[in-house]
Point group: C2
Chain length 455, copies 2
């Protein structure tokens, strides 16, 4: 039996595979693969050089079903790289062996032409039709991530009959629930496997099912699907079409993937970049992804240089003023970013309610005031003692730090809430706006105070 | 039957509850609660003001078991606020009704004294002992998140007997797998519920079990637990002690929570703050959380002011140089941050392998060079055309932008890999080090080029 392995055993396996690859001892590798779980084989790929990856895949693909399993576990980043060498017939033989939701994901990352060719070459017409249907759904919806192979029986079937059918059907890999339908496939209810085996054998399912199952439609956003599964601690959620017909289900392992994906996406968005960077090899493409935020920084920088230049008189009088520009912008930008992250993520997790804005703003303001006071004093004192003239430089620096930190927390908490209300994704828009605003405002605050206090 | 509800119905329920709370129409609220899933009741709390939250909880707690369910669904952020008003006896009656892993989490957030008092007042001695044992485990380990109520039977038991036992045992809420043990509770194997019902009734479990189940130990880090469950698409993973005795299991819903938690934690860490901010009401506490990073910014700022001051001669000659300091630091800091996020998250997800450093560094360098070239030219031209003297200012600015962006991507990709290798958490350390280094290096690059080119 093929079972999972633990770290130590994995490391030994990895070493052996590497050695055998070097020696082209393919038979030895095949012997190892036979005893290794596809998830672990996929894991091996992650630790190999590109060249070894391709070599190992050449061996894996001798067995279409194994290749399908390993590719399913590998996930998007490597699909492209490994499949470019395959001709359409070989790819089609592998796709044939995949679960149809994985097959649809897989074909979705290939070029349109190649995907169509692979579909045409598939021997299993019914499978190909199913995959084609899945490809029509938006990939971020329940339809795009669901598995259409779902175990369902009609309401008049008895418990004993249902158990019998489960015994006979091995094409359904993940049976945790039995979905109950009418003869038009309308979803009527749900029963867990556990309920099923603890119920009297001759009762019809109608009498023991939960008649109001949680469900989503094919168009529900995947993030929403994840939230429902999470909220009710489900193992799978049924997916229905507009007529309430059962079309498939999304299982909890897909939900985990969605959650990881969305968290990563949020993180990247906040830094002004994108998931695609990892898979992309073109510097031009990556540059294009990073372009918007860097351009915002550039525009802010140009405005800044213009602003600073307009305060030339103050600078001419006290050249030492220039020395504190970076720290004033740095303190403001960082504390503003901290507040923004708290609010953006808090809203995404439903912990911060945009309906109750005031307590959040008030809390952040107290934090900003406290930290502004502390750091304003620290830096003011340092400026006073280390720069002999002018004596008021310390006061100017201290006041500016305090004021710009206070402004920064306010902006950091207000912008994301504002963006959310007007329907802009806060994860994308917040950071560029916060840093730009704090930079510009920091300069204005600093030089205005300087002009006023240093004659 | 209490079932889940959809958004529209939820909104109507929320409105009614708010109205009834206003009128203190408690009986009406009780009638609504009777028909509402605990997860939805918990959801109601998120949309109420603090005052209404407390009022609603007063009604919920009339039913200890409901209060336990709702508190389980609510999770940490609200526990503290809702329970402060309860005396120890009332709290103990509620804790009594919780699953023991939730009870342990719950008591873990209370003050030590109060938790001990609640435990002492519990009527169910066995339950209290179980909770006490769980409290001993580190809360970030498998022991800290596992559910000790796990369904296990001995190897010689037959399939029919096992099914019979499942029927009789309703204390086990989540039975997806049957764990097989010997008479010292050593974990021997596992069978899925589905396998069980499709196997011949009179076979002993020994003969059909998977004899090498994936497992973790009580000390395994929760992140590692999540990775195993995710890798093998499990619904639950058994937890064993040092003697390989079955101590409990971690179910997939707990794993989802861990994944959300860790993603959030990583996000906060990168911004130099912490999850605790959300639950904390004290500005002092929040200030302390944000202190390390802001202090790093301060120290960098002080060094920066010192550096800039040491270039006073250049500034005296060309006061316009000061105008471009912010944009040079900004462009470097942002592109460095982008590279850092890609690498930190890529390593956390296992997509970037620290063993193969060179391709990643090389890719980032190309990106940095390309973007540095573009933005260096843009800003250089702008400086040349908008500031008439000195004519070489544009060249100085352009070269500095390009050089500091290149330096920033290099730092952004090298630091996290370096931190990971020496065992420092890259999510915490990377950003402060990247911004500090790019700031200082940016200043040095800029003024050195200025000194060299502008006589």
């Amino acid at each position: 039996m093929v079972t999972a392995m633990h770290t130590k055993k994995f490391d030994i396996t990895l070493k052996s595979v590497k050695r055998y690859l070097e020696r082209s001892a393919n038979l030895n590798i095949i012997r190892i693969l036979d005893k290794t779980h596809p998830a672990d084989i996929a894991h091996l790929f992650r630790h190999l050089s590109m060249e070894d990856k391709k070599r190992l895949f050449m061996i894996v693909r001798a067995n279409d079903s194994l290749a399908a399993d390993v590719l399913s576990e590998l996930g998007e980043p490597l699909w492209d790289e490994l499949v470019t060498d395959l001709d359409a017939q070989a790819a089609s033989d592998i796709v044939q062996e995949m679960e149809s939701d994985v097959a649809a994901d897989f074909l979705g990352v290939l070029e349109e032409d190649k995907a169509q060719e692979i579909l045409k070459l598939m021997k299993d017409d019914k499978g190909a039709r199913e995959v084609r249907k899945l490809l029509d759904y938006d990939e971020d919806t329940a339809g795009g991530i669901m598995n259409p192979e779902v175990f369902a029986v009609e309401e008049r079937v008895t418990v004993a009959e249902a158990i019998d059918r489960i015994r006979q059907s091995d094409e359904f890999e993940m049976v945790f629930y039995v979905y109950v339908i009418d003869h038009h496939r309308h979803l009527l209810g749900v029963i867990s496997l556990r309920q099923l085996i603890t119920s009297p054998p001759d009762l019809p399912l109608r009498q023991i099912m939960n008649p109001e199952p949680v469900y989503v439609t094919v168009e529900t956003d995947q993030e929403e699907v994840a939230k429902e599964v999470e909220k009710y601690n489900l193992l799978a959620i049924p997916v229905v079409d507009a007529e309430h017909r059962l079309m498939g289900m999304v299982t909890v392992d897909d939900v985990i993937e969605v959650i990881r994906e969305e968290a990563t996406e949020d993180l990247y968005k906040m830094a002004g970049t994108d998931d695609e960077e990892i898979t992309s090899k073109s510097a031009f493409k990556i540059a294009r992804i990073r372009f918007p935020w860097l351009t915002a920084t550039l525009v802010a920088g140009v405005l800044n240089s213009y602003l600073i230049n307009s305060f030339q008189d103050a600078l001419h009088k006290v050249i030492a003023l220039a020395a504190f520009v970076p720290v004033i912008l740095g303190m403001g930008g960082n504390i503003g970013g901290q507040s923004a992250v708290i609010v953006v993520r808090g809203m995404a997790l439903g912990r911060i309610d945009t309906g109750h804005l005031f307590p959040v703003v008030f809390k952040e303001l107290r934090v900003g005031l406290l930290l502004g006071f502390i750091y304003g004093n620290l830096l003011g004192l340092w400026a006073y003692y280390s720069f002999e003239t002018p004596p008021l430089l310390g006061v100017v620096v201290g006041l500016s730090i305090c004021a710009s930190m206070l402004f920064a927390v306010l902006i950091g908490v207000m912008y994301p809430m504002l963006f959310k209300r007007v329907g802009i994704d806060p994860a994308v828009a917040t950071h560029p706006f916060v840093t730009t605003s704090t930079d510009l405002m920091g300069i204005v605050i600093y030089f205005t105070i300087a002009r006023a206090l240093i004659p």
